[in-house]
Symmetry: D3
Subunit: 219 residues, 6 copies
Amino acid sequence: MEASPTLFLITFALMLGASRGDFDLLQDVCVADLYSGVKVNGFPCKHPSTIGPNDFFFCGLANPGIPNNTVGSVVTLAHVEKIPGLNTLGVAMSRIDYAPGGVNPPHIHPRASEILFVLEGELEVGFLTTANVLMSKVIKKGEVFVFPKGLVHFQKNIGTTPAAVITAFNSQFPGTQSIAATLFAASPAVPCDVLSKAFQISDKEVQIIKSKLTPKKQA
Amino acid sequence: MEASPTLFLITFALMLGASRGDFDLLQDVCVADLYSGVKVNGFPCKHPSTIGPNDFFFCGLANPGIPNNTVGSVVTLAHVEKIPGLNTLGVAMSRIDYAPGGVNPPHIHPRASEILFVLEGELEVGFLTTANVLMSKVIKKGEVFVFPKGLVHFQKNIGTTPAAVITAFNSQFPGTQSIAATLFAASPAVPCDVLSKAFQISDKEVQIIKSKLTPKKQA
Amino acid sequence: MEASPTLFLITFALMLGASRGDFDLLQDVCVADLYSGVKVNGFPCKHPSTIGPNDFFFCGLANPGIPNNTVGSVVTLAHVEKIPGLNTLGVAMSRIDYAPGGVNPPHIHPRASEILFVLEGELEVGFLTTANVLMSKVIKKGEVFVFPKGLVHFQKNIGTTPAAVITAFNSQFPGTQSIAATLFAASPAVPCDVLSKAFQISDKEVQIIKSKLTPKKQA
Amino acid sequence: MEASPTLFLITFALMLGASRGDFDLLQDVCVADLYSGVKVNGFPCKHPSTIGPNDFFFCGLANPGIPNNTVGSVVTLAHVEKIPGLNTLGVAMSRIDYAPGGVNPPHIHPRASEILFVLEGELEVGFLTTANVLMSKVIKKGEVFVFPKGLVHFQKNIGTTPAAVITAFNSQFPGTQSIAATLFAASPAVPCDVLSKAFQISDKEVQIIKSKLTPKKQA
Amino acid sequence: MEASPTLFLITFALMLGASRGDFDLLQDVCVADLYSGVKVNGFPCKHPSTIGPNDFFFCGLANPGIPNNTVGSVVTLAHVEKIPGLNTLGVAMSRIDYAPGGVNPPHIHPRASEILFVLEGELEVGFLTTANVLMSKVIKKGEVFVFPKGLVHFQKNIGTTPAAVITAFNSQFPGTQSIAATLFAASPAVPCDVLSKAFQISDKEVQIIKSKLTPKKQA
Amino acid sequence: MEASPTLFLITFALMLGASRGDFDLLQDVCVADLYSGVKVNGFPCKHPSTIGPNDFFFCGLANPGIPNNTVGSVVTLAHVEKIPGLNTLGVAMSRIDYAPGGVNPPHIHPRASEILFVLEGELEVGFLTTANVLMSKVIKKGEVFVFPKGLVHFQKNIGTTPAAVITAFNSQFPGTQSIAATLFAASPAVPCDVLSKAFQISDKEVQIIKSKLTPKKQA
């Protein structure tokens, strides 16, 4: 006869004893083994005996990122590589910090919708439908906006002080494809005439954008 | 011959003209028609011609809730009933405000995992696995913790000042089943001996708890 | 040229010969390798050459469980750990036996809906919605009742003879979180004041319930 | 400020009052409105105010079906059309009764895996993989066997007394495609030479099988 | 007693008679009612009595599209709006015709992976990962290439004759977001400085691209 | 502080440098490691550093298959075993070539819907609902037809010249169960009386069909 999980008086004795079932725990959570030699969709799970509360914790969003770059924004991610307990759970977060006038340039998340909460500041935010309709709005501290899965979207700090937001995704690893970088700074490069036809610009103009967006080699 | 979505010079003229395709828009988003007479899993969609940026916006999390109640906490939800644009997108948020010592009592979300970010204060947070192992941790401003889908969890303000958090869910309508209320204040009532056997308490003790948790009738 | 699966005259010769395709079989079923060193969501699959009909078979529900415990019920599970062929198939079963007056105390399955068929006896069964509405009914031999995914539910033998049911789940490993045990007998313990606030009882009353529900250490 | 679902003292008053939230209930369950003029994938939901425990109940499996037909078996279904509360829940049941020697002929369920529990008797049961490997076994009262999603399977009563089983599916409406009937008794008819080539029989033999399997017109 | 779907001799008489079950058919397929006043995720279903083989048929890919435009390519879609029977089935097709040197400019499908088969000609095809790595290849008649879900991709006819391909998607309505048009020809317009920062070009250069990509008003 | 994926100027330097993130790439695609010792649902992924464009390419559909067999058709598959990059992407293709009069006999794909495009010739194609209704149509070059998931379907070349089609599936490995072969040529064999009762033919007739469909042993 098998012990019953709903029969707690007996169950506890069994579960807390020597025969405690690793499998039970494994199925509630599958904490990512980030360094496993086996690669699967998502991550393999750590052995249940090695997991603990810290696998579900992250402190890396507590401090603002420093947007000292050309676009004036910096994204700090809290996805499965940072919080291994997120594996199989289907959620993740990020924090974005913006300098005054800073822009989180147009990008997509191929695997997630996103919901954004303003911690500080005033932002213009928007997404584009496949009919090329812009849905945009100015939002401020404490307000929320939504970006549907897979659609191009952006944010811009329209205030004169730094801004910051918390966003959440319905994927443990939403992925980000930043449009300008993807097209003009990929390696190998996207063929020049594909870009010149797409944007109706000259090959020379394509090269100029490429030169500005491609990271410099370190000396 | 059909117009091509990737052939933008022609497509735009068509899409912005009289024959513009409602269907394109409809499939990117399905903004909830909260008042439709037809009920479906989730919500039917509003007609695409009636949607706009405000369908993806919510200001109701900007101000703290007032936890003037027995448990000392109040949850403000930002789900599909508050943000109709969330329909079919699979995300939602909430804000929780806690008085000093306030508790968000043990509860489950039957349809979502949850990720929590501390806005202010210091909290003890935890969830329970099906093996009845408590995974808990003290977290403070800017830190993040995760509650796996369907498992009982709770938070408690362990500081001497008010605390507040933002949480996100991977469901447009995660649902909440608060354990004590569900068992002791349901209508109709859960049979007394089911509760007395479950908690190993007397029928009288069951009645006392029920009387405390059941909402009073309005005079 | 590749052999065609629909071209059976040729296909058979190939498949039954030396080059027979393990992959074909692997994708129809993925029999759990319960003892693999690699942990994944669910289980890795046994090598197809080692599987057979017994991987899809279980005899452990044939005999009644013996409910000689405080609550008067015992659950016998037929999930993926018992029937490795269930891996990836999304179904499982259980048998529950009840002494007269026995109760399967309030619990949730975080990963499955459940459908129950009465083998013998007369039971009061019910579930609670997130609006704390009890949906309950008395059912007898041959009758069926349904418990939606993630919601608290219970059964009680209201007859004077033993009762038994067969239940099925839409998960290979539905999981069970028995509410009273989860809250009052977890390890580490749920903080006392979280429980006293939730149930509006004194700390002393919390301790009494904990002492009754916590499994005794073996001498 | 919005009422909190975890703040039960306040919540109850609201929920049980005039403003009680239909939406809460709607999302826990979506009881099928079988007679709605609107057809969707699955079924639209009944208005929450009209649902009750009977929507989750079925008594139609209590009595044996009478297998007085050519194959000697009869299936009684307990799916969403019989139990409207199953809508969106992803489970269903059936009862099958077999005369001695009766056969539930080869068939598939296009939308579900199946798990079978023997109520009475002794059966030979089996399924076929896409590599045309038969996985079969003789099972008896109280034993369990599994049929993977979408694969051809069958059962046969090998005892000298009636047999009966309860089966469960991970779909609210698994569908059944009985192979012989589908091919030889469809309306309009499958072209004769498609069948003669498939089974390597003459057109005349196809006609004979068709004549036996096609239901007779009522006089 | 309920009629059995596997009991074909009896079942046929019932199904073909007056009481024939619309529900059975409804669940196999849910043919889109494109003109329903009710909007849902996907489409409501036509009444089963009104569907027929033509709902699963499309002739619009038989003839080449004429790529007489700036980019030199034209896409013809065969999705659920063209083949209503695709509703709920999760597949769609398209045909793309290219002039010599024609480009299908960089775009994403937010809801589908894509697989491409070359009917005629020689193409350079590629997609970009979120690490901005280009995966590209020259393919010719009869060859196949794959574009993962949600990632930017493109094709270019590198031959001196027209080219054509058939592509398939794992969505009934994959959606297309053509990058250049989405960013530079949306309505309302994406803010100028968002684009100038993203592409590191001047506001004047942004205006020039916008003027080229925005469809002209009809006189 | 973590580098931002949307902050491309900084990101590129990081990603293209020594610390470039394998994980980013892993999650966009999970190229099947067909020869891994670990078996999972689908396939484990190859190490990201070893993947390239050829993992997403296949040339095996370019040439017609030769249908020199009894049924007069041959299927060439382009699924995950042929295109390892398809792993986790949920699409696949096949090419079918038919001799004049050739038949692709009735079969099911347990894991996919299918959409068919005619390359050459004229075919009668059809599928059967679970209500045994045949949905069939004659289609010719350039036309498209759809077969819903899990339902029996077939094609027949009704022209006097060879025919060919391209089909696509919404599964990386749709699987094929050819009905006649599955029932009459399985190993071990399906019990004779199961087949004789199902098709209402004699045991001798069952044996004759079996002898014709079973592959001959090689001398």
